[in-house]
Symmetry: C2
Subunit: 315 residues, 2 copies
């Protein structure tokens, strides 16, 4: 889809559909909508050959991947899941066994959070797909718009792994060389617990679904601040280093553009050590606007090199 783009459609909708209801604190524009009663709701859709490839996904992995990615939107707002509504878009060839595998995947990722399946729809579709709406709750919601000058930029865990995993599977590279990356692409872990750990300290948050540069740009834009990513402080996982070396790609460029890691990217004045939560400080927030990269003592403005879900993975 060269024209219109996802962003142009979102801009169109935001302009023409202003929030009117007092029950809504925040509507279109963040990872999820936030209600005055503390409910947080988000919806996502996934299609075969657009978001996942059945050449290397099992039905179990599809279930896990799609619901994991959906629950990540709740983590980004520091909300705990209550339940999910799942619409299955099924082609006529699907079997009951495959539906069973799909649901085992849903359960595997949902059960640790006691997330119920509360409803859904089942329709025949020309293409296999899944639409998921997740409902969560939070007493203190983190928005994209809370970043303040003087804070640091943090991320939970390494980035770029999911995209390495996707490419390794897509290109048929040896799976044994990239176990962490492959697991990350197939079975993304929504950072629900981590969000509960950081929410006391974080002032803004987003999940890394569109790539480090695009998601950091969102934080800067929505918070009306300038954010600088420190090139030297972005951690590079050995599998990302390995893949980039093989493909002669600069690892930092790769990470700036890689999506679907579903790690939390947040700003905070400081974050203490949190048990079981890996956190890297990779930049800082200052007055101004825009996205910058600092390397060898020099800062330069960079553009979001974004991971466009509309055009990635497509046939």
């Amino acid at each position: 889809m060269s024209n219109p783009t996802e962003q142009s459609i979102i801009d169109y909708i935001r302009k023409r559909f202003p929030k009117r209801r007092k029950e809504l604190v925040e509507g279109i524009g963040d990872d999820a909508a936030v209600f005055r009663n503390g409910f947080v709701i988000s919806t996502d859709s996934f299609f075969e050959n657009v978001h996942f490839a059945m050449s290397y996904f099992t039905y179990y992995a599809v279930g896990y991947h799609c619901l994991g990615a959906s629950l990540s939107d709740l983590a980004a707002m520091a909300a705990s899941p209550i339940c999910a509504f799942i619409s299955l878009h099924l082609t006529k060839s699907i079997s009951m066994k495959e539906i069973d595998q799909l649901h085992k995947g849903f359960r595997k990722v949902a059960d640790p959070f006691r997330c119920d399946l509360a409803g859904g729809d089942i329709v025949t579709s020309p293409a296999f797909g899944i639409s998921i709406t997740v409902v969560g709750r939070s007493r203190r919601v983190l928005f994209r718009s809370g970043a303040r000058p003087g804070s640091g930029l943090f991320v939970t865990n390494f980035l770029g792994l999911a995209e390495v995993g996707r490419r390794v599977l897509h290109e048929g590279l040896p799976r044994k060389d990239y176990p962490v990356s492959i697991a990350k692409h197939l079975f993304p872990a929504p950072r629900i617990q981590e969000a509960q750990g950081i929410k006391r300290y974080a002032e803004s948050c987003i999940d890394v679904s569109d790539g480090l540069s695009t998601d950091t740009f969102h934080l800067a834009e929505e918070s009306r601040v300038r954010i600088t990513i420190d090139a030297e402080h972005v951690p590079i996982h050995s599998e990302v280093g390995e893949y980039c070396s093989k493909k002669k790609i600069e690892p930092l460029d790769f990470i700036l553009a890689s999506g679907e890691d579903f790690e939390l990217l947040f700003t905070a004045k400081h974050v203490p050590r949190l048990a079981g939560v890996k956190i890297f400080r990779i930049g800082q927030v200052t007055k101004g606007s825009g996205l910058f990269l600092s390397a060898r003592g020099k800062e330069k403005r960079i553009e979001p090199t974004g991971y466009e879900h509309l055009t990635q993975h497509g046939n």
Copy 2:
């Protein structure tokens, strides 16, 4: 999809995913899930050539039809809409003008209820489709399971019109002869106001989406009662009579099997005249179980002749 059927998948899911969260009053099994705080949430998906045909639908009508059908699930629970989450599954050929028309359709059906658009997702899909999650609220929710012996069975308005409209458009019959039916298929009105009118009196409610026989059967099953439809009291609209006469179909059989009228089917001890609400009494609830038809003084058990969304409209 000959195997598995929609019902077999729902049965599978209901059995394996029991409601666990105390925040949920009712999960899978009614028109919408009900939360303890009064929120009511439902999700539906629609695809071209399965739920609507672009040979006679405009994008405006698609927007109206899909959101209207979704809001009907809130009406069935006597909930008032707060907002909708809309996922667009777009093929690469769609234009910004078509997206604009689609959203004008969403607005037209949503605005009378001050229903906000609170979020969504935009993805590339091999087939044009829409997934919608609606969020509403009610202080007194109507369930399918509330029917009690001694009550009457009521419906708001004539039935069968939407299916006549669909067939007339599909078969290319003269549109001028079926204006009410065509409008009913393209632009279904969710009976939100009507639900507010009847909720003081009704004890159970469902919207007629799967056909009179199937939806009455659902009320009987979920309420563990016997419901008898009085053949003589089912009103027949002149356009339904006209179409059935032309096709040599018994109008009552047609109405029992026709879906997507999105009228409210409910049980109550009595219903007073309500300003602006058309209501027909078409049967009664007694002790026992199952669905019966009464004609010329004789009652016979009938099967739900169901409108299967999985197999209708398909190519």
